[in-house]
């Protein structure tokens, strides 16, 4: 087992819906999908975004696309027009997730 950053194995895109951010995490190689499923759990994502995501984290699996979809609730300081953040629509949460270190 070795530690790798997610950015080496996956790419991602994030967007907003109210105060919620969704992050789609996609494996670069299909054979790495089980690693993502095992390592990048809702709990780990919640921990990664501690202090940023104030609510629950949900995870959905899309094996057909080699992808996971995460919903981060209460993660945008009130959401798009209300938020005072430099990234009020959560566009950079995708790359923030790719910083995560996982065991491979």
């Amino acid at each position: 087992m070795a530690k790798r950053r997610l950015v080496e194995l996956a790419h991602a895109r994030s967007g907003d819906k109210g105060d919620l951010v969704n992050i789609g995490l996609i494996t670069k190689k299909p054979e790495d999908y089980p690693i993502l499923v095992r390592e990048v759990t809702a709990e780990r994502v919640k921990e990664h975004f501690v202090g940023v995501c104030k609510g629950a984290v949900e995870r959905f699996e899309l094996p057909n696309l080699g992808a996971l979809n995460f919903l981060l609730h209460e993660a945008l300081d009130g959401g798009g027009t209300v938020a005072l953040k430099a990234d009020p629509q959560g566009k950079t949460y995708s790359t923030a997730l790719l910083r995560m270190e996982i065991e491979v």
């Binding site: 790419h11 991602a12 895109r13 967007g15 907003d16 819906k17 109210g18 105060d19 919620l20 969704n22 789609g24 996609i26 670069k28 990664h48 975004f49 501690v50 202090g51 940023v52 959905f60 699996e61 899309l62 094996p63 057909n64 696309l65 080699g66 992808a67 979809n69 919903l71 300081d77 009130g78 959401g79 798009g80 027009t81 209300v82 005072l84 953040k85 430099a86 990234d87 950079t92 995708s94 790359t95 923030a96 997730l97 910083r99 995560m100």
Partner: protein
Amino acid sequence: MIRIANGQGFWGDSLQAPVEQIRRGPIDYLTLDYLAEVTMSILQKQRARDPQAGYARDFVELIARVLPDLKDRRIRVIANAGGINPMGCRDAVLEAAARQNIKVKVATVTGDDITDRLDQFLKRGIQLKNMDTGEPLSAIQAQVERANVYFGAFPVAEALSQGAEIVITGRVADAALTLAPMIHEFGWKETDWDKLSAGVIAGHAIECGAQVTGGNCQVDWETIPNLADIGYPIVEAEPDGTFCVTKHAGTGGRVTVESVKEQLLYEIGDPAQYITPDCVADFTTVQLDQAGPDRVRFTGIRGRPATNYYKVSASFTAGYKAIGSLVYTWPDAYKKARAADQILRQRLGNLGLRFDAIRTEFLGANACHSIPAGEPTPEIEPHLPEVVLRVGVRSENRAAVERFTREIAPLVLNGPPGVSGLGLGRPRVEEIVAFWPALIPKTEVRPEVAIWPSEG
């Protein structure tokens, strides 16, 4: 097979993209998405000043520019450019056509605006509860500016079957703009759940414009060719519900399974239950393959019956905000920016100003990635060439926010050294418009389709 192009992913997207879509290759339909939630509020403010306004004026200018091409090439246009004044938008388009002596059939799809009916709904026990919090709309009724229903694709398809060459809608679901021509051309029924879901997913793939053709794409981004001339997306749809996403030959960008996957996952919730007015689409059934260069084929899509509700988006005023920025430079850029933040907060406190929220971010240190990025390491921090201090406040009290905006510039002369005001001047006070998502029984509202000039 029909070709459905997207030429606008949001209001403010490239003005040139729809022109290129029309002129650089074959398409049958051009769809243009102008309405983000925030757009409706901007249009509301414009119409308060001018009763003729309230729609996307960019759209009228575009039509004036390309109408002869549209007629020559028999391209039909579907746009939610009507905003809160679809009839005003129609009149402006008909006027632009008349000026060029061109006859064109323009349809409107309306009925989505329920602002004036909210009292009546609430009295009858339709509570329009917030989908996120469960609160009834009555909690904020005095602050409500407008409310619109998201209609589906069938009224748009109806407008096409009546011969419309340009369909102008108010609020419809973004993907409905793409699904509608498939319903019209292929005769899909309201219970063809799998095909409707395929059309919705096709719409989702192209509704954000170039975000599926290599824009904002993380995979090998440096090798994506000619982003300066990026091609916008085109769906090549088949009657059986399969389709390809592609772009015009000779344009820049890239359409790959990877670029498509990123867009499919953009702004979705439970992927197996993507709820739209026309069906519930299942993204876990999509099969993708690279059918050729810049061409991705979608097959296998399944869906389920639509729900009995339309989504409603109500906008309401929610206080005021302002954001100020200053840039601090080496040496000790980050330390100075943090000190300035403390000084600013102390002064705001001394003035007795209270805010619902004060937020400080340090651009160049860790603003966007914040906690997941952590603080700059002790080795890096002293060498940071510059750090932007960005402070925002939010309050119900406009005067407090206004007073805050006067406290940023003085820091250049009476705070830590090596600082510039970024040439931005005093921050602007903005009224906050927030959004209230709710559901309404479909039986309560009815889309209205009309066509001009009338046949007579």
